[in-house]
Symmetry: C2
Subunit: 365 residues, 2 copies
């Protein structure tokens, strides 16, 4: 059973669903595996016809699994990324279903997505397969068990590149071994406000944990969202890697909660002012950039969690985080918009969904 990408747009996706344990701070838990077919060269050395053949073979095997094995997700979209419009590729990036690299690459490439958006497989990204399981909130163990099962099912159909000495072979040496990357996306506004975030992250780097922004490597930490993940996969088991990330999360939660308590005690008025103004601006702006929107929504999200804002719910804010991203905004509006028109449409969308009468009606439009 297949479904259409358009069906995904009205929701906020699994990663910003706002459910699961510790969801005031932990946005999502993700495990991904890097895998390659034994019979083909790595992507960097593959010819275009290799890539087409890889894509064709994987498609066939995944479709077979879907039909024949009831443990495999039954409702999948198989998306030919190369044939997608730019806006649809961007849409999938915004939902954390494909990487920027896959979106911006060329040649035969695809992604398989289950309807619930918990499971996806990128084909011909840096590796032949990038299998991902993502859960809302803090839930690494379940995510790990789920991806392990799916990986086993796939391995029944596919011969992976493997070395008895090294483990799974991958395009980039940092992935060799288990090929696993375990990550959590955290919302850490209080650590940002109290200027502790850099210090905390430096200490994470010392224990080989990587910190990235909202949209992966190199992206800025927009909206105070930070992704924490393991740096290397060699020499440790998948369970050890999962545990390493899982163990640090309560520590980070503790820091963020402590920072929030500090702000509430030492400068509640300033904090209340900040979140309240953010909410006010989101409800009255007539034009607003994506970056400012993320920044203000982040304040409002924390304000709700601290009981400083009470007439809007977290799911609404989570949905706005994703729906105000450029591709989502255009898909929802049903038309392509340039930056300037997007900023106007974004402001309008925010006003409508935050129930702000806005106070200011359009003049001579």
């Amino acid at each position: 059973m297949a479904f259409n990408l358009e069906e995904l747009a009205p929701s906020s996706g699994e990663w910003l669903r706002g459910a699961g344990p510790e969801s005031d701070i932990v946005i999502s838990s993700r495990v991904r595996l890097a895998r390659n077919l034994a019979d083909f060269p790595f992507i960097a050395r593959a010819t275009e016809s290799d890539r087409e053949e890889i894509e064709r073979q994987l498609r066939t095997r995944i479709e077979t699994l879907q039909k024949e094995n009831e443990k495999f997700p039954s409702s999948l979209a198989y998306v030919d990324v190369g044939r997608l419009e730019e806006i649809d590729r961007q849409f999938l990036v915004e939902r954390q279903l494909i990487s920027r690299e896959l979106a911006e690459g060329d040649g035969a490439r695809a992604v398989v997505i289950d309807r619930g958006e918990q499971f996806s497989v990128m084909i011909n990204e840096e590796d032949h397969l990038r299998i991902q399981v993502m859960h809302s909130g803090l839930d690494l163990e379940t995510a790990w068990e789920q991806i392990n099962t799916l990986d086993d099912l796939l391995e029944e159909q596919i011969t992976y590149a493997w070395s008895d000495k090294l483990g799974y072979l991958t395009a980039c040496p940092t992935n060799v071994g288990t090929g696993v990357r375990v990550s959590v996306m955290l919302h850490l506004p209080a650590l940002v406000i109290t200027r502790q975030v850099d210090k905390v992250f430096r200490s994470l780097q010392k224990i080989n944990l990587a910190v990235r922004g909202l949209y992966g490597e190199g992206s800025q930490a927009m909206g105070d969202f930070y992704q924490i993940s393991n740096q290397v996969t060699l020499g440790q088991s998948e369970q050890e890697l999962t545990k390493k990330v899982a163990d640090i999360v309560p520590v980070l939660l503790g820091y963020e909660r402590k920072a929030r308590d500090f702000l509430m005690q030492e400068s509640q008025q300033t904090l209340h002012d900040r979140v309240s103004r953010a909410y006010g601006i989101l409800r009255t702006a007539q034009t607003i950039s994506s970056e400012e929107t993320l920044h203000l929504l982040s304040s409002v999200r924390m304000g709700i969690n601290l009981g400083l804002i009470r007439d809007v719910e977290i799911p609404t804010i989570n949905k706005l985080f994703i729906h105000t991203q450029p591709a989502h905004l255009q898909k929802i509006a049903g038309m392509e918009l340039d930056t300037s028109d997007r900023n106007i449409e974004r402001a309008s969308y925010l006003r409508r969904h935050l129930d702000g009468n806005g106070g200011a009606s359009a003049g001579h439009n």
Copy 2:
């Protein structure tokens, strides 16, 4: 008949009443006369007992006039400024009824104010008398006629320092002659946004017109309010001076209207965004300074005049301009407040009066 200062607090005073011709831009028209008693030295050379005697004599004469001459305002407050609390002196400065100099001076000094706040006389400011008539909107001619009548009535009771050659003698040479200062307070936000205001003011200075901010000499142009007045009084008749200021006002109105039209045509979205956000912040801030308040109210005031904001009226905004000033705020709250508490009280006052539910209720207060 006397009245109490407390009776003035609930209104916005004459100068921000928002009535009169061209009141979208012209806040008020003011004429003041500098006069000195012939029989006493100027203030700078007067002893404290001179000042007391001047004050006593002027009080008696004004009270006599009030009782005996029906042309003289019948409801007056005679305020001993030296005995006022700091907050009450500041209150009168905020209403443009006394100067900062009178408020901050020492020794015997007073102000006489009529209930409508159109007429006031400062005693022992820079000169023995500073007589002021202020009208809302553009109305210099009427203000001139009114002050001329009052001056004549006073001169029946008082012998002014006078030179046949120079005219009225005053403490500062710039006032010698007619002793008249004619001024208009203008609201020029569009000239500020379009960065034309400095150029315009330089050209005014070339024709000997002075430009000052909201609270007189040296004060910054807060809230985009500018006071335009004549620089010298010697060698020109009162009518000529009044005409000189009156003639420039339509020119300045033209510039400001042109700048507003330009903004509405060339960047309406940006302008709408600016005024709408200003309104949003005023309705949601939990703490706000006096300066930021003036700045935001200025945007909202222009927004209303341009039809970009429709659910609040100009008189409300005018009232907020004055009621959010430090002394007004404390008098209305009925208690002294330090800067930090004032900023909180100001934000609360703004939210209540702009009908903003604010969206953000207090948390653990």
